[in-house]
């Protein structure tokens, strides 16, 4: 499968990773190669096979509904690159 430049740019936008113009070609080549390589899976007959998302076969464990966390705002904000009055601060987001 060929991952052309347009697709590389689309994926870069979806992943929020800026790819410079001069790198797009290289990424296109590398990604195309990797995707072509993984397409080998098409050789496997998987009709009627249930997909597996996690190798363990446990069921989801439950937690009791009690308040035993939070009230750690200092820790939460400690590593923030920009914060003010208890909030995380980012450039204005328009809807």
């Amino acid at each position: 499968m060929d991952i052309d430049k347009k697709l590389v740019e689309k994926i870069a936008t979806l992943s929020r990773v800026k790819i410079e113009e001069k790198e797009v070609e290289r990424f296109s080549k590398e990604l195309s190669k990797i995707i072509t390589w993984v397409e080998k899976l098409n050789e496997v007959d998987t009709k009627d096979v249930t997909p597996v998302a996690n190798p363990s076969d446990i069921k989801i464990p439950f937690r009791e509904d009690e308040i035993n966390d939070g009230k750690i705002e200092e820790k939460i904000l400690k590593n923030a690159p920009e914060k003010k009055a208890g909030y995380f601060v980012v450039p204005k987001v328009l809807d």
Binding site: I35, T46, P55, S56
Partner: protein, 484 residues
């Protein structure tokens, strides 16, 4: 006393017998680590606090309140969050990050009396098999000689180099597709990836959630069993953690087991170098001599495991790494526009391999491609798991080489991602199936570099894995470089 070549078991004995103090031990290792900076095995040495902790351990030892690992300095892969201590995942993205919390696995080590020696180098965000993608530069395989630089393997390259280079008694690693086993093989040490769910993932920087597992990297099989007993255990903060009783792997080593060994025919191919085939056959002999039946088994979907692994791990990684956005912690590249902030931060914070995997992961999950790639991979995964289930009806252990070659030279594969991925061909199927496996060194290649062999067991039967590993270890009598 030869502190350089000492192993964990010996340390505990000498500490108990008061032949050495934790302070001496810890000071020695800090010095050795400093003196061997060229290995670049450590990102950070815990110089200030390690000595203090050692002194406290000495107090406990002297008043007989010593815990299982009291006074032992241990190297921790810099993927485990350590409270108030830099945790970088070898990435520029987190190069200033100090967690306010401790990972469950490392907390268990500290609760057992162990001491943080330092944080070891790794491939960035655990993505790689050579430790060449680290923001802090590559780590070097201590077996490197004659001006040639060999890779220690990856992603837990720093931990492997430290233990192998005698600048750590033992270390922790994480294994997603082979990241403990393959570097253990390249560096000639023991590395264990436990069953998925055996150790808690809470507080370990997440790469691929359905594959990641923490494990010990040590000089001997006994050490690994000892350490795993401390690291393992149910954690209610991790919904994928297995709720089983406390392990007694170290104690159970005494019980020799009669095991049926399987050799997967799909792992044999004429491209394997001659020494690997030689040692593999030698290993089979060791098992036979020890009353273990050896048979050929079938793992028909082996050739599809790598592709399956790369699709699944990249998909999970692309989502797990979305939280690195410059808002709550880590690197931030400021901008007046939020999307620009995200894009610049992540472009600068992530290295090439990480970017590649995020892009692959995003692609295989995206609309129109999900069925053909991600869903397909999960189905093939199911078939691979089934292969192992079928094989394990006939055998207790599967015995294979850990890697298709010995360590390679730095820079020789970094420009060819697929060549790099092929390093994991024997380790990846095990990860997909969530099974336990160990790598034990058997001998040297013609380049004088270690060759490790993999022992795979059934889910939660690490005791059989350790038992088989002992047979290989005792019979191989592999001497680490510095012991010769």
């Amino acid at each position: 006393m030869d502190l350089k070549n000492i192993n964990l078991e010996e340390c505990l004995k000498f500490l108990k017998e008061k032949k050495i103090s934790s302070k001496e031990l810890t000071t020695f290792y800090l010095k050795e680590a400093e003196a061997n900076k060229d290995l670049n095995a450590y990102i950070l040495l815990n110089s200030d606090n390690a000595i203090k902790s050692a002194e406290e351990s000495d107090k406990r030892i002297s008043n007989n309140t010593a815990r299982p690992l009291e006074g032992i300095p241990i190297a921790i892969k810099d993927l485990f969050c350590t409270k108030d201590v830099l945790t970088t995942a070898a990435s520029k993205m987190l190069n200033n990050f100090k967690p306010t919390y401790e990972s469950t696995v490392t907390q268990k080590l500290w609760d057992a009396g162990a001491i943080l020696l330092g944080k070891t180098n790794l491939d960035e965000f655990a993505m790689g098999s050579s430790n060449e993608t680290s923001f802090f530069g590559p780590s070097i395989n201590p077996w490197s000689k004659d001006k040639k630089k060999y890779v220690p393997g990856g992603s837990s390259g720093g931990s492997a180099a430290a233990v192998s280079g005698n600048i750590a008694i033992a270390a922790t690693g994480t294994d997603t597709g082979g990241s403990i086993r393959q570097p253990a093989s390249y560096c000639g040490i023991v590395g264990v990836k436990p069953t998925y769910g055996r150790c808690s993932r809470w507080g370990i920087v997440s790469f691929a959630s359905s594959l990641d597992q923490a494990g010990p990297m040590t000089k001997t099989v006994n050490d690994a069993a000892l350490m795993l007993d401390v690291m393992a255990g149910y954690d209610k903060k991790d919904s994928t953690s297995a709720n089983l009783k406390k392990t007694t792997f170290y104690k159970d080593l005494k019980n020799k087991k009669k095991l049926r060994i399987g050799i997967p025919k799909q792992y044999k191919n004429d491209q394997l170098n001659k020494e690997i085939i030689k040692f593999w056959e030698l290993g089979i002999e060791f098992f036979r001599k020890n009353n273990c039946e050896v048979v050929e088994i079938d793992l028909p979907h082996t050739e599809y495991a790598l592709a399956t692994y790369y699709i699944i791990s990249s998909a999970e990684a692309s989502s797990n790494l979305a939280r690195y956005d410059g808002i709550r912690y880590g690197l931030r590249k400021n901008s007046e526009n939020i999307n620009d902030l995200y894009e610049q931060t992540r472009a600068e914070g992530f290295g090439e391999e990480v970017k590649r995997r995020i892009m692959i992961g995003t692609y295989v999950l995206s609309a129109g491609y999900y069925d053909a790639y991600y869903l397909k991979a999960q189905k093939v995964r199911s078939k691979i798991i089934n292969d192992f289930n079928e094989a394990f009806k006939m055998v207790d252990i599967i015995f294979t080489p850990t890697a298709p070659s010995d360590a390679f030279e730095q820079g020789s594969k970094i420009d060819d991602p697929i060549q790099m991925y092929l390093n994991d061909v024997f380790t990846v199927p095990v990860s997909l199936a969530g099974l336990p496996a160990i790598s034990v060194p058997m001998g040297l290649s013609k380049n004088n570099l270690p060759l490790g062999f993999q022992i795979i067991g059934k889910s939660f039967e690490e005791d059989s894995v350790f038992s088989a590993a002992k047979i290989i270890e005792e019979n191989s009598n592999f001497k680490r470089e510095t012991e010769k």
